[in-house]
């Protein structure tokens, strides 16, 4: 084959008629029509409060310029783990009101009560201890059961059972001392397991004994702060036991068909009744009061099998029985368990109260009416406020305040009561007229709290109420009060979680940052966050809210100064140890801020803001990238305002913009950021008729090319850079079409420069990348040789005008093309060996495609080359038949065009070999 010395002639193109002939019909898309390319605007995917309104709506309206990135929003400043940690560290996160509402919804039994499941976890997390615990356990299960042959009178079964009972009773009881909380929990879990095992192996008596042992543990109040958790753990076991017994009896009635859920005692058969009765007799003979009580409560539900109103009759008796418990703590928890099992109607709850408070004589059905009779136990009041529905409390908030004030300070501090009240008012609204008096009354008490820790715990709760119903004036007052309390002796150092929560609550309600920052005490409040990590956390949450809620770009100096300060704090927290993810999320927030800054027509001020920002945020590369984009946008905006023709002043300004980008880009470390920004800024400069600046950008890009490493790190993994590089070069080539040659440099100076760099670049071994670049340079050169170019920039003369189709220029282009084709053909030859035959075929085919599209095939040599390439690519049978068929069809179609008739000759010479 002799392929060298081919003559290149570009095909002449008539872009407009081609576009018309191949353009598809335009179908208008209605506003509401579905279209896959229509933008999906997520208006607010994360807002916590009242986010129900249109969380994901697909609309074609312009999305707000800071539509939160769904991926970045996952990494909301901190990683999820540390967010959990933060949530549990702060006593009452802002989601409290919501989660509480949700819980209320979940609860099916009594909407006025929190369901146990939510309370349970709370208790376990809250009541922990480091003190040593002791436990009384029987070790029956561990004892080997070697049957003695001595007595033969008693049957084997009876004997083992008797032994078992002995084991469980007293003989093997052992006190374990010095257990840590975890050990204790493990022990109880073991008991739970052995209960289940005993039950599964039909050792009902043993199961009962285990339950009795467990309930006994509840009479020990030695480590009082762990008692609630102990209660939770042990009542879990009791619940399990109650369920097992209930299910067993229930299953005895499943013949011939299972009992309906709403069965009555009449439907229960005698055997089941007898079994049930047996259980109750067994329980009634339990010697000690507390186990007898707990186990009977656990089996309360089983009364259904015996009589219709068994439960209703038993509950009052059990309630009375609790009076026999001397320790008030144990008694109250026993009551709590009874209430829980009963899942009481409110009336039952009240009757329990009445037992608790012996002086009480009459129960009125209206809950509030009986309160005054109780002689005001503060503890009770507190519990009522915790347990009752927030709405219930809120509508009677004024009454509650009166009652709180009447309470005796000695037993239970008032600020705790106000704390509880505030918690309710945070999620339900009192009548409008009462709100201000409520706030005043509450704050009167809160501000008098001496201990900073007590003070902030309470104040933090009330901030939500204040924010919810009042203006910045009241909030400001509250803030200044908090500052006053927390500043002495640096008390704020111990209250960061609460102070953070205050900020979060304010941010939840105040989305207008001009209002927010015009609160005089807001920034002084921020100054209390002196620990770096905390301060950054607060800044993050502020920026987060800003980005989510700021709708309009702003130039408000108060906002800008404050936020610049906030962002600077975030930026300054970056050090060598900062994780990439953290940096990215910080940068994302700062970028969001920068995008929201707009000085309108005052472009110079905008530019100087960018200069300032560059100095401030120099350590975060994504921010610098954003700034360059902003400045480029600024230049384009200037161009738009001037309608394309710059005055002397605006021309100087856009050059200043270019200068900004030009000196900022080199400081970026990411090579592809640099390359792409050089190209982009070059295009912007060109669009603004800054030719020498554009040249400088593009030259810089070309000169940076050799620095591109062969592999780059992407998300921590080393990847080949080849694909990125090819993408960039193709992009760059298409930009070069409109760049006019510099009068002092040679013809096609930039194209040659680029191709030289490509040639000298150390490509990967065994790679066709270089040849691909050569092939893709051909269309550019073909486009350059057209009389009128495919695209151009208004008010910039490109080579089409400069050379005006000068034959010398065209000859230069053709020569270049021939060199490139020569290079490609040389490369094809080296691919003749077996292992690369496939690559040879596909490269040949792409060159063929290129010739077909851009070469003038009337030229015989070119024509012959194309046919040879076709044959080469089909020789080995590796090419895609479908592509080949399509190509042939395309050629057939093209041949019907008036001046393309010669293609039908080509078509005749192209044969399609089917795969062998």
């Amino acid at each position: 084959r002799h392929m060298t010395g081919e003559k290149w002639h570009s095909r002449a193109r008539r872009y407009e008629s081609e576009l018309q002939s191949c353009g598809l019909e335009v179908a208008p898309v209605e506003f509401s029509d579905y279209h896959p390319l229509k933008s999906i605007t997520v208006t607010d995917s994360k807002s916590r409060r009242g986010a129900r309104k249109g969380s994901t709506s697909s609309s074609s309206s312009s999305s707000s310029s800071v539509a939160p990135d769904p991926l970045s929003s996952m990494l909301d400043g901190t990683d999820p783990l540390s967010m959990f940690a933060a949530a549990s560290a702060s006593e009452s996160p802002p989601t409290l009101s919501q989660s509480r509402k949700r819980r209320e919804k979940e609860d099916e039994v009594g909407v006025d009560f929190e369901p146990w499941s939510s309370k349970r976890g709370e208790i376990l997390a809250r009541f922990t201890t480091t003190e040593k615990l002791s436990i009384n356990l029987f070790m029956g299960s561990e004892k080997g059961k070697a049957p003695s042959l001595a007595s033969s009178a008693v049957s084997e079964k009876v004997r083992t059972r008797l032994e078992e009972l002995d084991d469980l009773e007293e003989g093997s009881q052992r006190e374990l001392l010095n257990l840590s909380q975890q050990d204790y929990v493990n022990r109880i879990e073991e008991l739970n397991q052995s209960l289940k095992e005993a039950w599964a192996s039909d050792q009902k008596v043993k199961a009962l004994k285990i339950v009795i042992q467990c309930s006994k543990l509840l009479s020990d109040t030695a480590v009082i702060q762990f008692y609630p958790s102990k209660f939770v753990l042990i009542t879990d076991i009791l619940d399990t036991f109650g369920r097992l017994v209930y299910e067993r009896i229930w299953s005895m009635c499943s013949d011939p068909r299972p009992l309906p859920d709403s069965f009555t005692a009449d439907e229960v058969n005698d055997t089941a009744k007898e079994t049930c009765l047996n259980w109750f007799f067994k329980i009634a003979s339990i010697r000690e009061l507390i186990p007898r009580l707990y186990v009977e409560v656990a089996l309360l539900k089983c009364n259904r099998f015996l009589t219709k109103c068994g439960i209703q009759e038993t509950v009052p008796r059990l309630t009375a029985m609790i009076r026999g418990i001397g320790d008030p703590l144990v008694a109250v928890y026993a009551r709590a368990y009874l209430c829980r099992v009963r899942l009481a109607s409110r009336t039952y709850f009240l009757s329990t109260l009445s037992h608790w408070l012996p002086s009480f004589t009459e129960i009125s059905t209206a809950p509030l009416a009986f309160f005054p009779l109780l002689g005001w136990s503060a503890l009770l009041l507190n519990s009522v406020m915790w347990a009752f529905r927030a709405e219930f409390i809120a509508t009677r908030a004024t009454d509650f305040i009166g009652m709180i004030k009447d309470c005796d300070e000695a037993g239970f501090p008032q600020h705790l009561l106000f704390g509880s009240l505030g918690r309710s008012l945070a999620c339900a609204d009192p009548p409008e007229a009462e709100r201000l008096p409520i706030l005043n009354e509450a704050w009167k008490v809160i501000t008098k709290v001496r201990s900073p820790q007590d003070y902030i715990n309470c104040a933090e709760i009330w901030v939500e109420f204040t924010c919810r119903h009042f203006t910045k004036r009241e909030v400001n007052t509250v803030l200044s009060d908090i500052i006053k309390h927390m500043t002495p002796d640096r008390a704020f150092e111990d209250a960061y979680p609460q102070l953070q929560s205050v900020i979060r609550k304010i941010l939840t309600y105040f989305h207008d940052f001009s209002v927010l920052f015009s609160m005089e005490r807001f920034l002084p409040f921020m100054d209390m966050f002196q620990k770096d990590s905390v301060r950054v956390g607060v800044c993050l949450s502020i920026m987060d809210v800003f980005i989510k809620h700021q709708q309009e770009p702003t130039r408000d100096p108060v906002i800008l100064n404050a936020l610049l300060h906030v962002c600077k704090t975030m930026h300054d927290s970056v050090n060598a140890l900062t994780l990439e993810d953290e940096k990215r999320s910080l940068a994302l927030l700062i970028n969001g801020f920068i995008r929201m800054v707009s000085f309108g027509r005052d472009f110079e001020q905008q530019l100087s803001f960018c200069v300032e920002a560059r100095a401030t945020f120099c350590n975060l590369e994504p921010v610098l990238v954003q700034l360059i984009h902003t400045v480029n946008q600024l230049a384009m905006e200037t161009r738009r305002v001037m309608r394309g023709s710059h005055s002397r002043k605006t021309a100087a300004f856009v050059r200043a913009c270019a200068a900004y980008s030009f000196i900022t880009i080199p400081s970026l470390t990411s090579i592809f950021s640099r390359l792409n920004l050089y190209l982009l800024s070059g295009q912007v400069a060109l669009a603004n008729q800054c030719l020498s600046q554009a040249d400088a950008f593009l030259k810089a890009a070309v000169s940076v090319l050799p620095e591109v490493p062969r592999s780059i790190s992407i998300e921590g993994k080393l990847r080949s850079s080849e694909g990125f590089l090819l993408d960039f070069i193709n992009n760059f080539l298409s930009a070069l079409l409109v760049v006019p040659d510099h009068p002092e440099a040679g013809v096609l100076f930039l194209v040659r420069g680029l191709l030289n760099m490509v040639q000298d670049y150390t490509w990967e071994d065994n790679s066709d990348a270089k040849v691909h670049v050569y092939i893709s340079a051909l269309p550019l050169l073909a486009a350059m040789s057209q009389e009128s170019y495919l695209y151009s920039i208004p008010k910039v003369d490109s080579n089409e005008t400069l050379y005006g189709g000068d034959p010398k220029f065209l000859a230069e282009i053709n020569k270049l093309c021939e060199t490139l084709i020569g290079q490609v053909l040389d490369h094809l030859k080296t691919l003749g060996r077996d292992e690369s035959i496939h690559r040879q075929g596909s490269l040949a085919f792409s060159l063929f495609g290129c010739l077909l599209a851009h070469g003038d095939l009337r030229n015989n040599k070119l024509n012959q080359l194309a046919v040879n390439l076709w044959n080469l690519s089909h020789k080995q049978g590796y090419c895609n038949t479908r592509t080949s068929v399509r190509t042939l069809e395309f050629i057939k179609h093209q041949a019907q065009q008036p001046d393309m008739v010669h293609l039908s000759d080509v078509l005749h010479r192209l044969t399609l070999q089917s795969r062998t």
């Binding site: 009634a284 339990i286 009061l289 029985m321 026999g324 418990i325 001397g326 144990v330």
Partner: protein
């Protein structure tokens, strides 16, 4: 291949009254056919009396067991000698619970010195090579309801150091006052014993208040009478230092089998169930629990 023998009574609770019919099935489960020499059922009701060593001395107690009193006995052959086919075979039976002469079916009672027990035994006689099969099953007899109407007889009580019995140094005792009442001393055996108790005052912290149910059994024989009181059940009704002047409920379910309606016959007597209020103070003052106050209870079935 072994066969299994079982007796299943019709009533789940196995409780019968005099004059009723004890009905059920003998169930034989075997994989193969079982050759046997007859299956018989024996129903028997016996009163066993035992003298306590306390009353008559160890040796006498050991030797002088009183002869058991038979209340009812009956024996029937369910199946004649032959073969029971493999699989599950159920043979129904019925026993009328009628006594002979003027004997009465006393209520089932498991005591210490007096035992009233009714059993049903099934025997399958087999050839020399195979072991005989036997199965025993206890059934309960409740005496017929009392005709006379029972009037509740509430009783009030007070416990102070002065009312205590068996105390030597009364002056060392702490001062206390407990009042209360039982709703009835003649109780229906199926209904719980109820009442209330109020700690009016106590110098020391209370540890526990317990309710003790005691039975008194009397056996008569040629040598004379033996009368013994033993504890049946002891349950705690108050734990720790309970609230003063707050009524604490007294509530005790009479355990089955171990209690029966008060009964008096020529040979033995079960009854005078008593109830003790039992109180222990902090150990520093008085190491021993202090028992006090017996109320005789008359139990009956209505």
């Amino acid at each position: 291949m072994s066969a299994s023998l079982d007796i299943r009574l019709k009533r789940a609770n196995k409780v019968y009254h005099e004059g009723e019919v004890l009905a059920g099935v003998v169930a034989i489960v075997s994989k193969e056919a079982v050759q046997h020499q007859g299956i018989t059922l024996t129903m028997e009701g016996i009163v066993n009396l035992q003298l306590s060593s306390k009353s008559v001395g160890v040796f006498e107690a050991f030797y002088n067991s009183v002869k058991p009193i038979q209340l009812i006995t009956s024996n029937i052959e369910v199946v004649k000698q032959g073969k029971v086919p493999g699989g599950k075979t159920e043979i129904p039976f019925e026993f009328p619970l009628h006594t002979k002469g003027n004997k009465v079916l006393y209520e089932t009672y498991h005591g210490v010195f007096v035992n009233i027990q009714y059993t049903l035994r099934c025997d399958m006689k087999r050839s020399l090579l195979a072991k005989d099969l036997s199965k025993t099953c206890e059934f309960m007899v409740h005496c017929l309801p009392q005709k006379a109407k029972l009037q509740p007889t509430p009783v009030d009580f007070t416990i102070t150091p002065e009312t205590l019995q068996n105390v030597r140094e009364r002056s060392l005792l702490p001062k206390f006052l407990i009042r209360g009442h039982l709703d009835a001393t003649n109780c229906v055996i199926t209904k719980p014993l109820t009442g209330e108790l109020v700690v009016e005052s106590s110098d020391v912290a209370i540890k526990s208040i317990e309710l003790q149910l005691v039975r008194v059994e009397t056996c008569g024989c040629a040598e004379g009478y033996a009368r013994d009181a033993t504890e049946i059940q002891n349950i705690q009704i108050a734990e720790g230092d309970v609230c003063h002047s707050l009524p604490i409920p007294i509530y005790m379910v009479f355990p089955r089998l171990f209690t029966c309606p008060t009964l008096e016959t020529i040979n033995f007597k079960v009854g005078e169930f008593t109830c003790n209020k039992y109180k222990s103070n902090s150990a520093t003052v008085c190491g021993l629990p202090m028992a006090d106050r017996c109320d005789s209870l008359f139990l009956c079935r209505v």
